[in-house]
């Protein structure tokens, strides 16, 4: 299957390892991977901050860049949700990574090994906007050696919310503080998610705490052997 990656500007710049893991994983599963270099941003930040015209322009630009793709796979549930919400879902050709693996390829065991204690942050946009359900859990359950632990209040927001985290920094940090308590209570070494935006937020605080807990995108765990 020929797959075009929509890596998103955020991952391209800040989390290149997630994109590399996507390539590793998808090629291992027999996909032919392509990265259209004209891609930039889906416009989510503009839309969510009130600059909807600009957000829509960028969503339209995304559609043009990927017009000829067979299937477009992205490691960001929130960007996919934004594009679909703005009519730029390329009919049904734009999918989030776990949707692609479970629904399109029909695999749960992707051949990964990751012998660590891991907890999943389900992310609001993954479960509530995208409705990807328990696909990430099911994929993780099939990883060899993994010790998957559930976090209390897992489906609660970590407080990121894009520009919310800056406009309402105090509230955002109060939410993050509670998320970190629940995270630490699991004893996990790694906090994973199907979206790096939450992980930027959670990971930023973990770094400050010198907590010895890492954040890793789901794709990186699934790529590990």
């Amino acid at each position: 299957m020929k797959v075009s990656l929509f890596i998103t500007c955020f991952n391209d710049t800040l989390f290149p390892q997630t994109g590399r893991a996507m390539v590793t994983l998808l090629e291992r599963l027999g996909c032919e991977v392509d990265f259209p270099e004209a891609q930039t941003c889906c416009g989510q930040m503009h839309t969510n901050t009130g600059y909807q015209e600009r957000g829509l322009t960028l969503a339209r630009r995304f559609e043009r860049v990927f017009a000829d793709a067979d299937v477009v796979v992205s490691p960001s549930a929130s960007c996919v949700a934004h594009l679909r919400g703005n009519g730029a879902g390329l009919d049904t050709r734009l999918v989030e990574l776990t949707e692609f693996l479970v629904d399109r390829l029909g695999v749960l065991d992707v051949g990964a090994t990751f012998p660590h204690r891991v907890t999943l942050h389900p992310t609001c946009h993954s479960i509530r906007l995208m409705g990807i359900g328990d696909r990430p859990q099911r994929l993780l359950e099939h990883v060899r050696g993994i010790d998957l632990v559930e976090m209390d209040n897992a489906d609660e927001c970590c407080g990121f919310g894009g520009t919310f985290s800056v406009k309402n920094a105090d509230t955002s940090m109060a939410m993050l503080a509670d998320k970190l308590c629940d995270l630490h209570n699991t004893g996990a070494e790694v906090c994973t998610a199907a979206d790096n935006s939450c992980l930027l937020h959670i990971g930023g605080a973990l770094r400050r705490q010198h907590a010895g807990v890492r954040v890793m995108h789901l794709a990186e765990i699934l790529a590990a052997t």
Partner: protein, 476 residues
């Protein structure tokens, strides 16, 4: 109302650790109870659809529904008044109270009367309004304001209430720490008022156009006392509370208690139609309040805020509200519903921070019994704030414009990636002071994904999944 704006007001609330503990305990308890009660209804989704449809239809035909309501209330012996705004409404209510020579009125818990500042308006006319809902009484005695639609004193705990009562209605007594004994003090205080005050004022949960029936839903029974004992009853009803048909109550009265308090049925549901000889009040006045509602109705996206049945499920489930409490919203209507209702009722001038008081996590939309798409309305209002209330040359607008131009071109985007790598540190940190207080920034990696992709494409040997290893050691 002098407004701090949400970020600053929330900052004050968040610094109060007792408040945060009270809020977290209360909201998590109610949320869990709601989830259990909702889960036992097999057709809950169908009920929500029905609730949404009932409200949408009532709003779409509002002029007809209100005229029908007026006709049926009048037919049943009630009197209907129309109030354009808070001033008119307070004048009408004050006039009726004075007409009966009353110096005191007892009140059923009502958001509409809080919205229009009725108690203060009556006080200015020499009339004391006595709140009879326990939590409203607590707030009134403490010169405090409501912080929750349904549980107005949710920010208070038992000890705070005990001490407040011992300073006010139970002066000189030691009430102990038992909740029943503390509540008993309020009960004794209120019972005397129920039996002596001649005028009661209520709000309305629903008003049925077809029959002229008004409905008030409550837990304590104090509302029932107000609705049945005094000679005169005045109900202030926001015009969006109108329902077309009696049968609509069947849906709404299933949705409301389960969503609100997590109860299968609320303890007291009072329904009355006009007046009746030898039973209940001798005189009934219904004041229909607009106060900005028809303006909301003219906004195609925003109007769904008027579908709200005031269950407060969105407050309890909101990760923002459950941290900050209600006062941070600086409105009678806090939480997610308040963030979309207050700016529309009052105008965006002094409320422009409210649509941004959400991380857009979607928890509110998931629990709303009438399926109000709160996140979409928040986005819509954010757009209105930017278009109508932000200077085009504000730092944010300029930055968004510049970033937008960068993203519009691959070349500019790639140049910006290089700059970010070089300019990381002071520039990025200065741009995001709110961010860096608790959260570190990641090192901007030396190689973007696209740079890696290009080098990889040039080295065919690397094509078979042999991605270069990285910091996290995740790639093989």
């Amino acid at each position: 109302m002098s407004a701090l704006g949400f970020p600053a007001a929330a900052g004050l609330a968040l610094a109060d650790s007792q408040l945060r503990r009270n809020m977290r305990n209360a909201t998590s308890t109610i949320t869990a109870r709601r989830a259990a009660r909702v889960a036992e209804v097999p057709d809950w989704e169908a009920l929500r659809d029905a609730g949404a449809a009932i409200k949408a239809r009532a709003m779409a035909t509002m002029p007809e529904q209100l005229e029908a309501l007026e006709a049926s209330v009048t037919r049943a012996g009630g009197q209907v008044h129309w109030a354009r705004d808070a001033g008119e409404c307070n004048e009408i209510v004050g006039g009726i109270v004075h007409g009966h020579g009353a110096r005191e009125v007892i009140k059923v818990k009502s958001l509409a009367t809080d919205e229009i500042g009725l108690n203060d308006a009556l006080a200015a006319q020499g009339v004391e309004a006595i709140e009879t809902d326990l939590a409203e009484l607590i707030n009134q005695l403490g010169h405090d304001t409501s912080s929750h639609i349904l549980v107005p004193a949710i920010h208070r705990n038992r000890a705070e209430v005990k001490l407040l009562f011992e300073r006010t209605i139970a002066r000189g007594q030691d009430l102990g720490w038992d909740i029943t004994a503390i509540a008993e003090a309020a009960r004794r205080h209120l019972r005397e008022k129920f039996l002596s005050v001649p005028v009661a004022i209520s709000g309305a949960n629903f008003g049925v156009a077809e029959t002229g029936t008004i409905c008030v839903v409550e837990s304590e029974g104090n509302g029932r006392m107000c609705l049945t004992l005094p000679k005169v009853l005045i109900t202030v009803m926001g015009i969006e509370k109108v329902l077309a048909h009696w049968r609509d109550l069947e849906v709404c009265l299933q949705l409301l208690p389960r969503s609100a308090t997590g109860e299968r049925m609320n303890p007291y549901t009072s329904l009355w139609t006009g007046v009746r000889a030898d039973d209940g009040p001798e005189e009934f006045h219904l004041v229909l309040l607009d106060n900005g509602r028809t303006a909301v109705l003219s906004d195609e996206v925003g109007r769904q805020a008027l579908h709200c049945i005031r269950c407060s499920a969105c407050l309890n489930s909101c990760p923002v509200y459950s941290r900050t409490g209600g006062h941070a919203y600086e409105s009678v209507y806090p939480g997610p519903i308040g963030a979309i209702l207050t700016p529309q009722l009052r105008g965006l001038d002094n409320t422009s921070t409210l649509p941004f008081a959400s991380s857009l996590c979607g928890a509110c939309k998931e629990v709303c019994p009438v399926k109000i798409d709160i996140p979409s309305v928040l986005l819509h209002l954010r757009g209105r704030v930017v278009r109508e209330h932000k200077r085009r040359l504000s730092p944010e607008a300029l930055a968004m414009e510049a970033i937008g131009r960068v993203f519009a071109s691959q070349r500019r985007y790639e140049q910006a990636q290089k700059l970010a790598r070089l300019g990381r540190g002071p520039i990025v940190t200065a741009a995001l002071p709110g961010w860096s207080t608790m959260r570190g920034l990641p090192e901007i990696p030396a190689q973007t994904f696209r740079d890696w992709w290009r080098t990889r494409s040039q080295q065919p040997a690397n094509r078979n999944g042999n991605a270069p290893s990285d910091r996290n050691g995740t790639a093989p």
